[in-house]
Amino acid sequence: MPVRVGVVVFPGSNCDRDTVHALEVAGAEPVVLWHEEASLQGVAAVVLPGGFAYGDYVRAGVIARFSPVMRAVTAFAGDGGLVLGICNGFQVLAEAGLVPGALLRNRSLRFVGREVTIAAQRDDTPFTRGVAVGRPLRMPVAHGEGCYFADDATLDELERDGQVLFRYVDAAGAVAGPTDPANPNGSLRAIAGVRNAAGNVAGLMPHPERAAEAILGSDDGMGIVRSLVDSAAIAAQGRAGLVAAR
């Protein structure tokens, strides 16, 4: 039976269908979760997709943070549930304090919509288990506020604890500096994606779901989608085992 993975839809989400499709290709059964719903319908993992939730008014992601579904997602994450935020979903997670840091206006002040190259920093997480460390992955970004920021102490902590999941790299795989064109938004330490301290919540600005099939020009994102689906399946089995043991 395919594992059920939730995809949250806020007013203004616009990558939810792409995410649903990519999850299907990866073998999951996607479950669409409306932002007014306070139940996650028993899914084994949740994806917060890209878009402009609530118009991104005030700050990208902040109004979505107070929606009923995010109360449920926060409780789910607190119980160790797997949550992945992509682009606007990453901004929502950062505003909710579920992952460290903040996404600032791009250093260029421009909305950036183009292909970038990122590399996973580790392959032993629920989000990167099927991705080789350091291998350049091509996928698009499409955002105006993607400049990753945290203070130096936090950045050092993230590095020390292995919480940096993805960095922007150049075509040769070298990590991009803040003003390097390979870094599309000026992110500090070229951070494209991070996870929380517990390791079950992650966010990234690039769009793996838009690079999940060869017909899209790149299927490099499928490794990330499949990692999540496989991890969700293992989590669902673990939960079923726990229930049976009771």
């Binding site: 005030v58 700050r59 902040v62 109004i63 107070f66 505003e95 840091g101 903040a102 600032l104 206006r105 791009n106 250093r107 260029s108 002040l109 400049c147 920021f149 945290a150 203070d151 000026g186």
Partner: protein, 93 residues
């Protein structure tokens, strides 16, 4: 009950990159203005709070400022009272 009006000023914290401020600084030359520096672009939100007293109204405005209107990681805020009107006479409900 009275209506207490506030302005909430949200600004990027010191040390936080503010590309909008930089863009404003960059345009000063075109205006023929010199001697202006440290431009920081923030946001001002005005609102009215119905409350029994000023302290209660301020607490509500402050909570809104800290939880929604600013992100404590990157922004500072200040709540500024800008006027009070008694609303007892005008209320019909």
């Amino acid at each position: 009950m009275s209506r207490f009006r506030f302005a909430i000023n949200v600004t990027p914290k010191a040390g936080i990159l503010d590309p909008q401020g930089r863009a404003v600084e960059g345009s000063l030359g075109h205006l023929g203005i010199s001697g202006v520096s440290d431009v920081r672009v923030g946001r001002r939100v005005e609102l009215a709070v119905e409350a029994i007293d000023a302290a209660g109204a301020f607490a509500i405005a402050d909570r809104l400022a800290s939880e929604l209107l600013s992100n404590p990681l990157i922004e500072a805020y200040a709540v500024e009272p800008i006027g009070t009107t008694s609303s007892i006479a005008s209320r019909v409900d």
